[in-house]
Point group: C2
Chain length 329, copies 2
DNA sequence: CTGAAAGCGCTTACAG
DNA sequence: CTGAAAGCGCTTACAG
């Protein structure tokens, strides 16, 4: 390993103190009131020696790492991958580096990741929390570490968050189905204490009050089997004329199972999905879906977090989703 | 911000030196030959005060950050998102944290990310390099920083890498098309100096030598327009009976355009794609494709890198891909 | 078995 | 305008 050049090396080379070098190179020249030519010599030497400041040392001294921890359910899921990309880009603008972890919707894993990230002294967290993780979120808050929840939140936890208008967008979407003439709806969601899930359910219930409808909730852990069972029931017992899926994972998995069973959409039954997926583009019929502004969610959560890092403001932001229900071009 | 508890705090609390505390808490108890009950008292106090070691301080002292930098083209692309997930999981087993960056296939962005990561003192890099980035890769090597390329490499750069058998798998895939009876093939790839791209092309050429065929290469930067133009040409001028796509991005974008144009697969024309995509599951006909072992690529690159971090061994590993050409169940 | 001390590479009051 | 020095929170040879 090539020896790294330090402040001291360049200080020695031109015979000044490390303090001067630090002032000049960190852009606090005025503060140190350094002479113009000295400053120039320092910059010159830094360039010659290819000086790269040691971030670690700086962090230890200042207590800031300029690093944020992002924890999502699964970084390989396109929805969260997009969020990660948005957070990465936006945080770069603030000179922040992002470290990412996947909780797999497990409170246990979340807790471990949080501990690891805290040991690494992250300046703040952006988290899409799994079910039943209030305690861990509150633990972070109790430590005084800035945090912004994204996509999901808990009503009774006082933290910053950036989410979409889950209840309203679901109402709009379901109302659209009613306008189209559907009269017997099934709603497929997860069992969850997370507010976004409750809100989507409430939106469904509100909009479908005047017609026949049924709500199915499955366990995330056994979703494949339970989803299939629920869909069979919807097809055979309830005989619904349209299914509303509450999340992107359920949407894609549900579509796949229906296709496998030979169900024709929308002839036999229509569907309403949540979140965009690239697979819709390849489906034989346009898929009605609620499109959340992922980029904006990511961007705004970084903005909210950096704001909180500065002045401890708690921001709660709700973005609007869009209903995509047009015929394919 | 709640005051963090340090080694010193717990040393003071029970009246021993920080050295002892350090030995006990970092598991080097034997090395410090610490007394059993002292050790117990220390552990007790650490728990009571909820002591979280400061990783930054440790890093400064030891020169190791236990952090690796992963740079891919685009973390929101499912292919790279899967790699990221694999790297994240595997590096966790080694106590390493991963920071991720997206180069967008730009050498300039790669260079910036590398500089940022070096300032953060990453212990090593895993990089899927963009075209013409040899210099940056060699710069990292010249600094003595361990690096493992993934998915792509340069033949004349002596670094560790983990890739798949690009030439062989392409040969196998194209041979399969010949066996199926196709006689006029088009190959769609990027203009690139990257070895994996050359290898895939060579594989195509070798296997299609006995029949009619044509190679099309497009610029990554203007891929949407150029791809469409090339596909039009293939349909109208070459009148190929099958198209071979060289990458996952080209495969999905190509399929989309063909579908849009009303081309029926495989009736009008068949396709052979590279890499799996979830969209295939929703296509009206099974898609023949080469499936790379993404999980294994990710895993092996972390193993190669950690090995190199220990003993400076350079490992070059080639994994086998699988041809998926079965009828849908 | 235990403690005092140096040092990792920075920043930043403080003193001249 | 410039330098000496303390200190961030650890680790680790060294001395007892």
């Amino acid at each position: 390993m090539v020896k790294k050049v330090s402040l001291k090396d360049i200080a020695q080379k031109i015979g000044v103190s490390t303090a001067l070098v630090s002032y000049v190179l960190s852009g606090n020249e005025e503060k140190g009131r350094v002479g113009k030519e000295t400053a120039e010599k320092i910059r010159q030497a830094a360039k010659e020696l290819n000086y790269q400041p040691n971030h670690i040392a700086k962090s230890l001294k200042t207590g800031k790492t300029n690093t944020i921890g992002l924890i999502v359910a699964d970084i390989s899921n396109p929805f969260f991958a997009s969020i990660a990309r948005g957070v990465e880009d936006e945080s770069g603008h603030f000179g922040l580096t992002t470290i990412i972890g996947s909780s797999d919707e497990s409170t246990e894993k979340l807790k471990n990741l949080v501990d690891v990230f805290i040991k690494r002294q992250v300046d703040g967290f952006i988290i899409s929390p799994p079910d039943n993780s209030e305690e861990t979120i509150e633990y972070i808050i109790s430590l005084g570490i800035p945090i912004c929840l994204i996509d999901r939140h808990f009503n009774h936890v006082n933290s910053s968050y950036v989410i979409t208008d889950n209840k309203e967008s679901m109402q709009t979407a379901v109302s659209h189905l009613l306008e189209m003439g559907y009269k017997n709806l099934a709603f497929v969601a997860y069992k969850s204490s997370l507010q976004h899930m409750k809100d989507r359910e409430q939106g469904f219930l509100d909009a479908s009050a005047t017609i026949q409808s049924k709500v199915y909730k499955i366990n995330f852990n056994k979703q494949q089997q339970e989803l299939n069972k629920v869909l069979d029931e919807i097809l055979e017992t309830q005989k619904a004329d349209a299914i509303v899926f509450a999340t992107n994972t359920l949407s894609v998995a549900g579509l796949k199972y229906l296709t496998q069973k030979g169900v024709q959409i929308p002839k036999d039954l229509n569907v309403m999905c949540f979140d965009f997926s690239e697979v819709y583009d390849f489906f034989y019929h346009p898929i009605i879906h609620v499109k959340q502004p992922i980029e904006q969610l990511a961007k705004d959560s970084v903005v909210a977090l950096t704001q909180q890092m500065k002045d401890h403001t708690i921001q709660k932001k709700v973005l609007r989703s869009e209903l995509i229900a047009k015929t394919r071009a």
